[in-house]
Symmetry: C2
């Protein structure tokens, strides 16, 4: 039996609806999308809280309301953001995590920590200019340790996002220190569409991460792609025992007709089954990642 594949659906990020109208904003919309992704084969939903108009929300209550809306509709595991570059300050970024204490009904199972720093400006090749010139996404070691502690206190498992090879080396060191626990859930974030802060989404750039995977650590790794089709990295992940994190939050998938999140999950789940890997249920993913029940 092949190892089961964990699909994490990245349903909305801060994507607008102009290129794909199916981006969910409200707690109810996110809850519905998550349930549909679960039915299509996803074990985890990754979401960003959004206001009704789609703007980013950093209100802890909005996070909790969204988590409740997801839990009411399915048993899918829940992974939330800390807001990336839209919010500053370690405490502010983790405010919704602290708010989850003691409440299994509104506590996320996982939350993202980016384990390093990189420039995230976007290059517009057609115009031969950067749309911004000063966007360094800074996550120093101290920040990573603080965020890990906040999550530990509440019982939320960190998922460790790696944009470059140094992020993976930092994750390895922080696992060595016991700041993070094994099995680690590591996500490689590829970058297309003019975002140059990570590796391009190619077979070789995926293998570049696997070449430096720490030996003798229990790591379950997954792949995502900002502003590009996940197919190349997904092919490597499906063949080499990794997992996948597709979704219209990252990329509108015009080549699939600007589909719903569930349709994107279904597309990748079929591809995995054709290769001989069945999708993991939330309960199976929980066991594989050792997420507190």
């Amino acid at each position: 039996m092949s190892k089961k594949l964990i699909i994490m659906a990245r349903v909305n990020e801060y994507a607008p609806r102009d290129r794909n109208p199916h981006i969910p904003f409200t707690p109810e919309e996110i809850g519905e999308a998550a349930a549909a992704c679960r039915a299509a084969g996803a074990a985890i939903v990754h979401f960003h809280a959004r206001n009704d108009d789609g703007s980013p929300s950093h209100d802890p209550e909005r996070y909790l309301a969204t988590i409740r809306a997801i839990r009411e509709r399915s048993d899918i595991l829940i992974d939330c953001t800390l807001g990336q570059a839209t919010i500053k300050g370690d405490e502010a970024r983790a405010a919704h995590i602290a708010r989850m204490k003691g409440g299994p009904a509104f506590r996320a199972d996982l939350a993202a920590i980016d384990v390093g720093s990189t420039n995230i400006d976007v290059y517009d090749a057609a115009q031969k200019r950067f749309t911004t010139q000063d966007k360094t996404y800074v996550n120093n070691i101290s920040t990573c340790m603080y965020l890990a502690k906040q999550m530990d206190d509440v019982g939320v498992k960190p998922h460790l996002t790696c944009w470059t090879i140094p992020f993976l080396r930092a994750a390895d060191a922080l696992l060595d220190m016991g700041v993070f626990q094994e099995p680690a859930y590591v996500q490689f974030a590829f970058c297309e569409g003019g975002i140059i802060g990570g590796h391009p989404c190619t077979i070789r750039s995926t293998l570049a991460f696997l070449d430096v995977m720490p030996a003798n650590r229990r790591i379950e790794w997954t792949v995502t792609c900002k502003e590009g089709n996940l197919l190349p990295a997904a092919a490597v992940a499906i063949e080499q025992g990794g997992h996948i994190s597709p979704g219209i939050g990252d990329y509108p998938y015009p080549e699939l007709g600007a589909p719903t999140n569930a349709a994107v999950v279904d597309f990748f789940a079929r591809m995995a089954r054709a290769y001989g890997r069945e999708t993991a249920t939330p309960a199976e993913a929980r066991a594989m990642l050792n997420i507190p029940g």
Copy 2:
């Protein structure tokens, strides 16, 4: 005839003398080391200005005095630092560059620009702790553009240092914009000894950069390794048409008996010749890199 190999000797960085007593500090010491490296096969010397006691100097006059001391002793090309994380602020970092205007005798031929941001804290695996937790080396796009402009104004060619794949993608974009000119001199900086801000110095991690080398650009690339033996990356560079940048400033080479810089250059030059690549003279390197005369 195989392509000539450009050896850039990285003679001192901010290395102390406790692990290798041959680290040059003063203008005269750096000048002597540079001349010896030239005799051993180096075409370029990369240096950091140091005070007599070895502490970092950011005094533009100290840079100029060092350049004069190098020029008095050989025809080696000169590449200087902008001080990495030891000095803050774009203007301060480029103060010595501005001071070089109009003076070929005290003008460097090349100077380093790090084309991106990364965390540079050091992990002490034996103690299971980071020696620092907040060292993010920030070079945003705006900084890169400012430094390129300063160098252009003076006639100093930037050498583009890449710690991770996003740095190379930024270099490609800035070449596309005309901020940097081809042929570009790109340096891949590998990291060992607990520094986790770049790729480990392995054959595969070197190939990871080559896999994303921009197509159709004229790039002369070189390799260096902070706190580790350059051999694996040098092997790839020698075999695949790249160049090399060894030196005791980066690593004391205890396995070679804590040698002089010239002895390290000689070691790598012999290795290259054994493979069939002769070392480039300064004049040949100047032509290959299109450095203003």
